[in-house]
């Protein structure tokens, strides 16, 4: 089910459709991909897939070309962020069973190769005799981000809504931000990205950092494109184990990606003793962790690097 949802969404993504229904006569490139979801019936009706996921039939004469967001508009909007929002994520480590659906959904959404992780589920052990646990690690979207400070061309930047973004139309590939990030949150496109031919000519969407580009950086963006559509980030909604809470700190509300339950953010982190990762570095992360206590399942992983846990 999760898988279906993601495939469908990425279809729409590749069409460049964000709102409304995909239409005819946009450009030949779009038309070719359109044929994958729509077909013309003999009566002049057209079948289309709505972003909600229902298949509808529309009279061909009723169709008007959809607005394709231009690259400049995309870039401008992407740099400003969503007004009045202050996105935060809460990761409940007591729930994570290493299902890795988040990783799969993320790689699917952001067109990543199997070894590229915007979110990586790590097997952690803090000290020699402490209990090991699984720790999903996205970008921390720090409020004092070491990565954006060092960027020589302002290709990575902090938006007003808290998200740290990448502009891979501008990135020069110096990889200083990778060196600066203490959370190893950033990846680089060492070769042509996955499915490069398939996405050739597709307008770049800064809020999803797709299509990826060779020689540039990529990283977790809290699925900024989905947030704009009022949806949760891919990893959050893909999780089967209620690990992720996501929401707006200004509204003091976070929603669980699995149960869709919405609770008070401040109460959640207060009641569960939430912490941030390596707060001693002063990076002020926007991702909060709830400690891995009262787990009802065993840790089945093997610790790969003994004596090298954060």
């Amino acid at each position: 089910m999760e898988q279906n949802y993601n495939t469908r969404r990425s279809f729409l993504k590749s069409l460049g459709v964000t709102l409304g229904v995909a239409g005819l006569g946009v450009s030949s490139g779009v038309l070719t991909s359109c044929s994958k979801v729509s077909s013309v019936s003999p009566e002049g009706k057209i079948r289309l897939l709505t972003p909600g996921g229902t298949l509808v039939e529309v009279d061909a004469s009723q169709l008007t070309p959809a607005e394709m967001p231009s690259l400049t508009d995309n870039q401008k909007r992407g740099r400003l962020g969503m007004e009045g929002k202050s996105w935060v994520m809460v990761i409940d480590l007591s729930k994570c069973r290493n299902a890795r659906q988040c990783m799969a959904a993320c790689q699917n959404h952001h067109q990543l190769r199997p070894e590229q992780h915007h979110i990586n589920v790590l097997q952690m052990q803090d000290a020699e005799h402490t209990a090991p646990y699984y720790m999903p690690k996205p970008c921390m979207h720090c409020d004092n981000p070491p990565c954006t400070k060092v960027c020589p061309v302002n290709a990575t930047f902090k938006r007003a809504d808290g998200i740290v973004l990448i502009d891979n139309e501008r990135c020069i590939g110096c990889r200083f931000c990778i060196a600066a990030c203490p959370y190893s949150a950033r990846v680089f496109n060492w070769f042509e990205p996955r499915d490069a031919e398939k996405y050739e000519g597709v307008t770049y969407n800064i809020e999803a950092n797709v299509p990826q580009k060779k020689g540039t950086i990529s990283k977790c963006l809290f699925s900024a494109d989905l947030l704009r559509d009022g949806k949760l980030p891919s990893c959050v909604s893909a999780c089967p184990n209620s690990v992720y809470w996501f929401g707006d700190r200004n509204e003091d509300a976070v929603t669980n990606g699995t149960t869709k339950e919405t609770v008070s953010f401040s109460k959640l982190i207060r009641d569960n003793g939430a912490y941030t990762l390596m707060e001693e570095l002063g990076t002020k992360p926007r991702v909060y962790y709830l400690p891995p206590k009262n787990r009802t399942f065993p840790f089945e992983g093997e610790l790969i690097e003994k004596g090298h846990q954060g």
């Binding site: 990783m103 070894e115 060196a179 959370y183």
Partner: protein, 453 residues
């Protein structure tokens, strides 16, 4: 300065000095052609490697997401380091009125220009998108240490070229007036570059004045160039880089590498262009002492850099230091410390080893160790980030340069050698007029037309 000589003596000795010091320009044989041929071949291979890298992506190197800065960056730091010798010898020692280093100034400037020019090229070759270099100028953010580095590297290159060129002008006039047996075009180049030098007091006064300004200007720039380069590392939160002594640590290490490079070039010139009377035992002796001195300073910083965190062994520092002292990088680390620092200090305390040939061998060792020193600074730190490296292929975890990467790395060395060779083939490797002046030959003889022409 020697005693003032009589007119005949002056003319004769000026002729001899001119002949000796232009030998690098007039002397042409199979050997020099072969040397250039080899260099150009290697350079072509390097360019070919770079083209492949552009086409297929930076993935043709051994770098991956965790070790995302590799040997290119080590190479860059090495060349920036070597270039610093220009400012030490031709400016600092000059301003301190130290006489022995004067004939070495031009060699030091050659090395500085070659090294800093290559450093600039290497950093472009390390970029994922060299085609977007213009973004640095279009969208440059001055808060990024890369911008600072770019600024000081270009400034340093400009000042170094000027410091090479200004004291060369009187020599260019000499070459224009006296040199025979070179192609017409080369003579034309000298004529143009000599800027109509006549050799009157006013012109000398201007050159000396301008040089003095440049020599003072290059001190802050020279110090900044390597300090800022060290900040590329020190401005991050990584164990092994996150230290406050990186600036002076890098600067002192740079003098070690640069002194060694200059000694090697001096030795080759002395041999190839028969300059035994110009680069004398005394010069090598003094350079040996200089090398010991800068090595001692560098040793002091090394002790600070490793002993203090080694005493505490804080979690990540501890992992990093264990890797260096006894882990996968221990052989390289101890080679660098012993062969590149302790051994030279010990050997060069003896006069026997401060002779030209032993100095050449020791300098070679020091230079090799200096390169690996940069490697050991850059790579082990990247292999051990704060969080465990998981869910990636094994080759992401350990870095080793690929063959494609190595040919590009070699391009740096070959490029620097080509620049040095061309400079030696075009211009005297020791300032003729300054040397003549030191020998007590009056400036007026420099502008005389030689009798035998």
């Amino acid at each position: 300065m020697n005693e003032i000589k009589s007119p005949e003596e002056s003319r004769k000795s000026l002729d001899r000095i001119f002949r000796d010091l232009t030998r690098s320009i007039t002397h042409r044989d199979e050997m020099s052609r072969f040397w250039l041929f080899i260099l150009v071949m290697f350079a072509i291979v390097g360019v070919w490697g770079f083209i492949i890298q552009i086409q297929r992506g930076l993935g043709v190197t051994g770098m991956r997401d965790y070790v995302s800065w590799g040997a290119y960056i080590a190479n860059f730091v090495f060349f920036v380091a070597v270039s610093l010798i220009g400012f030490l010898i031709s400016s600092t020692l000059h301003l301190l009125k130290i006489e022995w280093s004067k004939p070495i100034s031009r060699v030091a400037e050659q090395v500085a220009i070659a090294a800093v020019a290559m450093a600039g090229l290497i950093i472009v070759m390390d970029m994922g998108r060299p085609d977007r270099l213009q973004n640095v100028f279009l969208h440059g953010r001055f808060a990024s240490p890369i911008l600072w580095d770019l600024t000081v590297v270009t400034t340093y290159l400009v000042i170094s070229v000027l410091l090479f060129y200004l004291p060369l002008i009187p020599d260019l006039a000499l070459l224009r007036d006296r040199l025979t047996g070179v192609p017409e075009i080369q003579k034309k180049i000298y004529t143009v570059l000599a800027l109509g030098w006549k050799g009157n007091e006013e012109q000398y006064r201007l050159v000396t004045h301008a040089m003095r300004i440049l020599m003072i200007l290059i001190i802050p720039v020279g110090l900044s160039i390597h300090t800022v380069t060290s900040w590329l590392f020190a401005s991050t939160l990584r164990a092994g880089w996150d230290t406050t002594i990186f600036g002076p640590y890098f600067v002192s290490g740079a003098f070690v590498a640069g002194t060694a490079a200059v000694v090697m070039v001096m030795f080759v010139y002395r041999l190839r262009y028969r300059l035994k009377n110009y680069f004398t035992h005394h010069h090598f002796d003094m350079m040996g002492k200089l090398l010991v001195f800068v090595c001692l300073v560098y040793l002091y910083f090394n002790i600070n850099e490793f002993l203090v965190p080694g005493y505490k062994m804080r979690l990540h520092e501890g992992i990093h230091l264990r890797e260096l002292f006894a882990g996968g990088y221990s052989r390289m680390f101890w080679f660098v410390q012993i062969a590149g620092l302790i051994l030279p200090i010990f050997l060069l305390l003896f006069k026997y080893f401060r002779r030209p040939f032993p100095m050449f061998l020791i300098s070679f060792l020091v230079l090799v160790a200096s390169w690996f020193k940069r490697y050991v600074i850059v790579i082990p730190t990247m292999e051990h980030p704060h969080l465990p490296v998981q869910n990636v292929p094994d080759y992401f975890k350990h870095y080793a340069p690929t063959s494609n990467e190595i040919v590009i790395l070699l391009f740096g060395f070959v490029g620097a050698l080509i620049i040095i060779t061309l400079l030696a083939k075009l211009f005297p490797v020791i300032s003729i007029w300054e040397y003549a002046h030191q020998q007590g030959i009056d400036k007026k003889y420099l502008t005389e037309k030689p009798e035998n022409q």
